[in-house]
């Protein structure tokens, strides 16, 4: 930690929050708000004279409220920066100085009530999101009595109680009577692995953290009676099983089952009823103290940051990586990386590993001092643009700006455009050219494919990352399927313009398949949502025009689903066989008329 404070290349901004991010990979403009500390960070020597005179006493957050501090304080003894800080909301008075005792006490004169919040703007090439987690709030799960019984503690409170630097100097005492407990119970999975309250996921670290705590306790108090109530003990990491065994050997009792009810006895100890699910017996224990092994939940500011940076979250609320196996620390947005629990609950070793990986990924991006932008991006033909704003609305990367009010044409920020082609598919004025996948290029492919024997062919659109790769995988696995499909590759299913479909039908296609990555797996954040909406719209239109909607299919096929690709092809072939020549001829006429009417409008 102190290395960070001293490092010449690190600018440390504490009490600070990112409030705005503009720009794109290579050059993000970041606005940071730094709250006033009221103590000069550089001058303060942490002598602590100010604390002695401050009359305001408050619970100390660092010790989970188990001790007190003053309105001017040091966050904790090893803090970096070491400078003290004033909590203005608690301080008696700086306006005009009502109290100001600390100002007098400070010899170096580093306390300054006129400090104000600062706004700092920094330009950076990459961003690492390492915002960590919040512990689960056990108040919600009150059957464990956290709000009612003094001797029920959270794992973090317990940590401070056994910490040599904590309020008791590492002496374990019960909060109620400051007596040393003879027995202690740990309840696992508090706020984790529950569909009822808290979260469904496993928080990954609480099992090992409890095992560690039992070892610490046994080392200090060999005769203490410890019971651990659990669902499963997950000791999967290197060396973990060993610690678990050591804990059992030292006499810690592990009991499979979570307590059903907890009551407080007159002396403040706790009576626990628990069904031991390995024996099926209902057991009762009375223990001096209980510790709730808190799970992790996404940090409070996660959603705000997600919106600011245009990132995605998992259904659990943690940040979503670009690919779970191949790009585990990259965000889908180029230039942004994840480290630590912001991405998912993990222990220290995994966090450090991921942090180093994120640094390496950022270095890989930045080391040459320049970035090359992919030329497969979209461009606006200004004179065709109607400034309707649709493209800006659908772009998953916020790469397009349009001033709808002033009617200025859309502008694509090439560096931010990832090339999904959704904007080009959505623009109703033909004002967007998607390079390398232009309307003309794709239409030409459709026309040539259907110029002969159209009725035998299955016009298929497949996105580069999932469905096309899925078709490749069918090949690699030698899975055989009907030979009628002709695939047109686009980068994203979002590129598939409604007009491509009409064009296909106009050229006599009996059936059309649009395929892409599963919802949530899109390589362009969520561009496939627009595909889905568009197909829905076309389906409705088909119905109105009297064309069987089933002749247009939308399928999500992942890169690993070769078998599924083949299966979809067989299904498409069945539908194709159900389409008669008369039907396709009818469709050609209908669509031609519809397009003509549409063009006249």
């Amino acid at each position: 930690m102190t290395d960070v404070g001293r490092h010449p290349r690190i600018k440390l901004l504490t009490m600070s929050e990112v409030v705005d991010v503009k720009g794109y990979v290579g050059n993000f403009d970041v606005t940071i708000r730094k709250r006033a500390r009221y103590v000069d960070e550089k001058e303060c020597t942490a002598c602590g004279e100010c604390v002695k005179v401050c009359p305001v006493v408050r619970p100390d957050e660092f010790n989970m409220g188990l001790s007190s501090r003053r309105a001017i304080y040091s966050p904790f003894p090893q803090a970096v920066p070491s400078a003290y800080v004033i909590n203005v909301n608690e301080c008696l008075g700086h306006n005009p100085a009502v109290c100001a005792k600390c100002v007098e006490a400070c010899e170096k004169k580093c306390i300054n009530f006129h400090m104000s919040d600062e706004e700092i703007v920094e330009r950076v090439g990459s961003i690492i999101v390492a915002t960590g987690f919040d512990p689960y709030d056990p108040k919600e799960l009150d059957e464990y009595g956290y709000t009612r019984f003094q001797n029920v503690l959270t794992s973090l409170e317990f940590e401070r109680l056994v910490n040599a630097g904590g309020p008791t100097g590492g002496e374990l005492v019960r909060p109620l009577d400051r007596k040393r407990p003879a027995s202690i119970g740990f309840i696992q999975c508090v706020g984790s692995r529950s569909t009822r309250k808290g979260h469904e996921y496993c928080s990954n670290t609480c099992c090992m953290n409890t095992i560690k705590s039992t070892l610490v306790l046994k080392e200090h108090y060999p005769d203490i009676n410890i019971k651990v109530f659990y669902i499963d003990i997950r000791a999967f990491g290197k060396g973990f099983e060993d610690l678990y065994k050591r804990s059992r050997r030292l006499g810690v009792q592990y009991l499979r089952g979570l307590p059903g009810s907890i009551e407080e006895l007159p002396d403040g100890s706790l009576k626990i009823a628990v069904e031991d699910t390995s024996s099926g017996r209902l057991e009762f224990f009375s223990l001096d103290m209980l510790v709730l092994a808190l799970g992790m939940r996404p940090a409070k500011g996660t959603r705000k940051l997600q919106e600011m940076l245009g990132l995605q979250l998992t259904p659990d609320g943690f940040f979503l990586e670009a690919h779970p196996k191949l790009l585990p620390v990259d965000a889908a947005t180029r230039g942004i990386f994840f480290a630590g629990c912001a991405e998912s609950p993990k222990d220290i070793k995994e966090t450090v590993t991921q942090a180093s990986a994120a640094a390496a990924r950022a270095i890989r991006l930045m080391h040459s001092g320049q970035i090359t932008s992919e030329p497969i991006t979209s461009e606006v033909i200004a004179e065709h643009c109607n400034s309707c704003g649709r493209c800006a609305e659908v772009c998953p990367y916020n790469a397009i700006t349009v001033d709808v009010k002033k009617k200025t044409p859309a502008v694509v920020t090439t560096a931010a455009c990832a090339g999904c082609g959704t904007c080009a598919a959505e623009c109703r004025f033909g004002a967007i050219v998607m390079n390398h996948f232009t309307d003309e290029q794709i239409t030409e492919q459709i026309d040539v494919m259907l110029s002969e024997h159209a009725s035998e062919k299955i016009l298929t659109f497949a996105c580069n990352w999932c469905s096309y790769a899925g078709a490749d995988y069918a090949g690699v696995s030698r899975i055989q399927y009907p030979p009628n499909a002709r695939i047109i590759r686009t980068m994203c299913s979002g590129r598939v313009d409604e007009n491509f479909i009409w064009q296909g039908f106009m050229k006599g296609a009996p059936v059309i398949l649009v395929s892409g990555c599963h919802i949530g797996d899109c390589h362009y954040i969520n561009a496939n949502h627009w595909t889905e909406k568009r197909i829905e719209k076309v389906h409705k239109r088909m119905e109105k025009l009297g064309i069987r909607p089933e002749r247009l299919q939308l399928e999500w096929i992942s890169a690993a689903e070769g078998a599924r690709f083949a299966e979809v092809m067989s299904r498409m072939e069945k539908i194709r066989q159900s389409v008669s020549e008369i039907e396709t001829k009818e469709t050609i006429k209908t669509v031609k008329n519809y397009k003509k009417a549409d063009a006249e409008k």
């Binding site: 440390l12 929050e17 803090a79 999101v129 390492a130 912001a342 320049q370 030409e444 062919k457 690699v476």
Partner: protein, 209 residues
């Protein structure tokens, strides 16, 4: 950062083009099901195609050498390779284009292996017909491609690390020790995060700070 509004010129207008088509056998991988010579023959009659031939292994050094020679001798300006998936060798052949002085985006790949020979093994005729279609589509597509250029933009060699817990500290130090400037932003008055509150940590059971 550069923003583009382009004057839309005659990018899509047909010009006289000189296309080379190579139908790869991939040993027997493609040729035992698809009639490669027939495909090449049909392709030779397509608009703009100057050279069209079968080739043993397009991606091998001799294969690439042959294509490079043809480009030079016949002044080819666009290439269609009918071979394996573009997901495999598109980068290889783009590199070949570059080394022959052509724009790498004037290349199109028809996927005859993963999409024809390997998935229609028992239907050689249908597989060949499909291969012909795919090559035709590629030839007409390559005719309409236009050169694209990668842009290089300056980048700020500095990182923003949001959060000063273990993860943020480790990332910041790794970056800074590698010579990159770092701005480390922490909400609280001190860095350290939750880790600073822990006494001993598993698996080593030592102090966390």
């Amino acid at each position: 950062m550069k923003t583009t509004i382009i004057e839309h010129t005659d990018k899509n207008e047909a010009r006289s083009v000189r296309i080379g088509v190579y139908v790869c056998h991939c040993g027997l991988n493609i040729s035992q099901t698809v009639d490669c010579e027939k495909v090449a023959h049909i392709a030779s009659g397509l608009d703009g195609v100057v050279v069209s031939k079968g080739i043993g292994y397009a991606c091998s050094e001799p294969g690439q050498h042959e294509i490079r020679n043809d480009i030079e001798e016949n002044m080819l300006d666009r290439i269609v390779i009918a071979s394996c998936s573009p997901r495999l060798h598109e980068p290889t052949f783009r590199q070949l284009m570059l080394s022959s002085g052509l724009n790498p985006y004037l290349l199109e790949i028809a996927n005859l292996r993963e999409q024809c020979s390997w998935v229609h093994m028992k239907e050689p005729e249908a597989a060949t017909a499909k291969a012909v279609d795919l090559v035709k589509m590629s030839v007409s597509r390559v005719r309409r491609l236009f050169p694209l250029y990668e842009e290089t933009l300056p980048l700020t060699q500095k990182s923003l690390v949001i959060g000063g817990g273990v993860a943020g500290i480790q990332t910041a130090l790794d970056l800074a020790d590698s010579g990159f400037d770092v701005v480390l932003v922490e909400k609280k008055p001190s860095i350290g995060g939750t880790m600073a509150q822990l006494d001993k940590t598993f698996p080593t059971m030592d102090c966390s700070i």
